[in-house]
């Protein structure tokens, strides 16, 4: 996005990953489609995790040499046909799909919310998202369990660890046929699961999944909104936090940066 971004910079310095200079060499692309909303937030999360965020435009044919890609949340093309259904045909998605399925060393890709929906439409991930069973948009702080800590995007967590990140969507109900669900479970590809009351009717409480290689991960809740003290959820599964102090989502971004440095 070449639009001005007046709201930039660090609110409070991060003592953790951001001090590791080598991470800054990792370039993480964040894609903007028409109707994308959380692109600047995803870029901020990459910066706070210590990496370098690169803006990517949906109409471009060039990944600008990024080491990983985040497809952020929003309502690309208004979600008018079906969430993600039009975005998957963007020129940049061809590049991403090719790079993400290139065997060993394939491009790490994270789809958040609308980005997850785009990944399913692009068949990089199985299943699909339908309207929440409440039929309402739902915004709340959501507890999740990290079921698989071996993906490129979750290695900074421990398997079974719980985190709290904001959930905010209208079409968040993950559905797939029983065979696919069994396959996802059997192969350890259920990466995040809702803890407590299922917020939207998702099958088997699934909040996020990966592809077989583990480089492509999609999840409905928004880890990029739990990365900065003062602007995250009021609670954390990692212990006491200050007002809006929850930063449980940061591990998603540090995971991929550290993996790529390593």
């Amino acid at each position: 996005m070449s639009v001005e971004t007046p709201l930039i910079g660090d609110f409070q310095p991060f003592p953790s990953a951001s001090t590791e200079g080598s991470l800054a060499g990792i370039r993480v692309g964040v894609v903007t489609f028409p109707g994308t909303l959380d692109d600047r937030d995803a870029m901020r999360a990459v910066r706070l995790a210590g990496g370098t965020a690169i803006s990517l435009w949906h109409g471009d044919h060039d990944l600008r040499g990024v080491d990983a890609v985040i497809i952020p949340g929003g309502f690309s093309y208004g979600d008018y046909l079906r969430a993600g259904a039009i975005s998957r045909f963007a020129p940049l998605m061809e590049q991403i799909t090719a790079a993400a399925t290139g065997g060993p060393g394939a491009l790490p890709v994270l789809g958040i919310c609308n980005g997850f929906q785009v990944l399913t439409e692009a068949h990089l991930l199985p299943g699909s998202m339908i309207k929440n069973n409440s039929l309402h948009f739902l915004c709340r702080d959501q507890r999740l369990r990290v079921e698989n800590a071996d993906t490129l995007w979750t290695s900074d967590y421990a398997a079974g660890e719980e985190i709290v990140v904001p959930l905010k969507n209208q079409d968040g109900q993950f559905v797939a046929d029983e065979h696919t669900l069994d396959e996802l479970e059997g192969e350890g590809r259920v990466v995040f699961r809702y803890v407590g009351e299922n917020p939207n009717g998702s099958r088997r409480d699934i909040a996020g999944i990966s592809n077989a290689a583990g480089n492509v991960v999609g999840l409905m809740p928004h880890p990029e909104h739990a990365v900065e003290p003062g602007f995250g959820p009021d609670s954390s599964a990692r212990g006491e936090v200050d007002l809006r102090g929850g930063t449980d989502g940061l591990g998603i971004f540090t995971s991929v940066l550290k993996k790529l440095v390593g």
Binding site: E4, P6, L7, G35, L37, D41, S134, H222
Partner: protein, 756 residues
Amino acid sequence: MSKKFNIDTVANAEATPGQALPWAELGLKQNEYDRVVEILGRRPTGAELAMYSVMWSEHCSYKSSKVHLRQFGDKVTDAMKEHLLVGIGENAGVVDIGDGWAVTFKVESHNHPSFVEPYQGAATGVGGIVRDIISMGARPVAVMDPLRFGAIDHPDTARLVHGIVAGIGGYGNSLGLPNIGGEVVFDSSYQGNPLVNALAVGVLRHEDIRLANASGVGNRVVLFGARTGGDGIGGASVLASESFDDAKPSKRPAVQVGDPFAEKVLIECCLELFKASVVEGIQDLGAAGISCATSELASNGDGGMHVELTKVLLRDPTLTPGEILMSESQERMMAVVTPANAAAFEAIMDKWNVEYSWLGEVTDTGRLVIEWDGETIVDVDPRTVAHDGPVYERPYHRPVWLDGVQADSFKGSAPDLRAAVLELMSSPNMCSKDWVTNQFDRYVQGNTALAMPDDAGVIRVDEETGLGVALSTDANGRYSYLNPYEGARLALAEAYRNVATSGAKPLAVTDCLNFGSPEDPEVMWQFAETVRGLADACQELGVPVTGGNVSLYNQTGGVAIHPTPVVGVLGVFDDVARRTPSGWREDGQAIYLLGTTRNELDGSEWANLRGHLGGTPPVVDLAAEKTLAAVLVNSSRDGMIDAAHDLSEGGLAAALSEAALRFGVGARIGIDELCERDGINAFTALFSESQGRAIVSVPRSEEVRFNDMCTARNYPTLRIGVVDTENSALDVQGHFTLPLAELKEAHEGTLPKHFA
């Protein structure tokens, strides 16, 4: 005569002076039509009539309210203008918040369309106010929605609640704008006239301010964004400027239909236009559509404009010129571009896949000339359309019933205080609004430092320094019903107090004045008193009104809504990291009550629960509010308090309950000393709505400093309790103990019970 339609040209109008025109159906009065004929020196064409009818409507011309609204300008002192970069009259006011940053904000109504078609009415209300913010050159950063519905259990209320809440969410969420506050009020006076007010705030650098004018002869005029369709025709005139009446046909076609995706693209596209400096003037298309944009741009600039109307891109090719001029299709903007910048403009449009059409150019003829296939269909002085509309000195008088109402003071009490607190906290107006606010995105953009249910919404503006703003909107229709002058002052006092409670210094005001029919002298008196009260109060508090909106004709048949002046106050923080939440968290912190409690239950929530509305509203002392605000802002800045919550509707009982439920942390409270000091009983201590009060939690280490400050400022302070993390209960010692689980269940169950 033109080929496509039976077009009424200027030549035709001159040749057929006796032809009858449907001016009454378009909402004009006989004297107004006569005035149009007098201005033009001939009968208007059909297209000219369309323009005058919408631009001279109450909604666009403020013809009934103008003579009163002047006070907002007249009562502004030089000191109040200190932070004002753009005042009343532009699309929205702009306020300097320091470090070269500015904030623009405004609240508007979309009441009538939201009753007729709740989803689209509410959605396009958000869309309209956001385009006002973009027009100033700002990036929109947040929205808020003060909402008022009829009785919670009325059969029609669920239709409106579902449609309006989904419409606001569906539009605002899709724009990527956090919804950080607002109000949800239920009162049967709004049964046939729900109030859907929408506030938006935007951020810009001082040098980026854009104004709506068409200057530079030869500069080109371009319309861009969504195509023009047949929706919203007459929205400003026959819909928003008349009372509802069962005998008349449905007004549904006068409601606009929103496309939030188109608006999101328009936001980014406009910001890119501003950054590239390729527009000279810009105006959003809202009420009265192209009629408004062309006449306002022209009359605010070099005075002339030439437009070829057949160039307008249409959704429906059968629209007549008059309909095109009146259409209120959403997501459209009009800009003035130099010929040299035209290519750069087109490149940005193409990047965002936004459609545009070059309509004409700026002239110095002093005339707005609109052609259709080469024939002139409009030839007017644009000032006569945009600025020289009728102005009425509507007759007004104090309602004859008011003395009787004011004499009927509330006498009730509550024998069981525990049950009363539960009843209050589960009542429609005091219950948790989570069911509504959880349908809005409060996280997007990553700068939300406080949102509902805290006292004010807080947004970071500068990520380097933490510079940010706080916003609160408030109104109390019952107070205004009992005394409109005081009601307006009370609304401002509460919004001002809420902003200060969050820790921000109040700077500026926007207002949305919702009333019944101005043709009713009693309603007009309520309006006049409200404006006088608000203008006086702004002067006393030193905060200027920067813009807003008047919504009249909120009445069905002869029944008007309570006078409802919604007041929004903007405050500024050096660093939003020091914002104060409304709930306490730390065990052992002292809880203080600031201010004096009097026996003031008239118009209160408790009286409302008992079906009583009479007497006089609480006394408002603006000097005390100023001192209280200073105490709260200084305490926040110097780290003397960890929580603060203002006392307003529901009094101390509501404030204590909300402060405990905010983080689920209990407290031990004693009110006996308060009762003794202020000469009141326990019921009054808990339920009175005396103004100028707040509760705060103070760390032990700060108590001496805090007390010294309050003493130095001579503000009444009383230690009424202590935060207690051990027992999850609100324990009002000697009176009752309420486990937080029980209180929470009562508080949160009400809206889901009625609407889920």
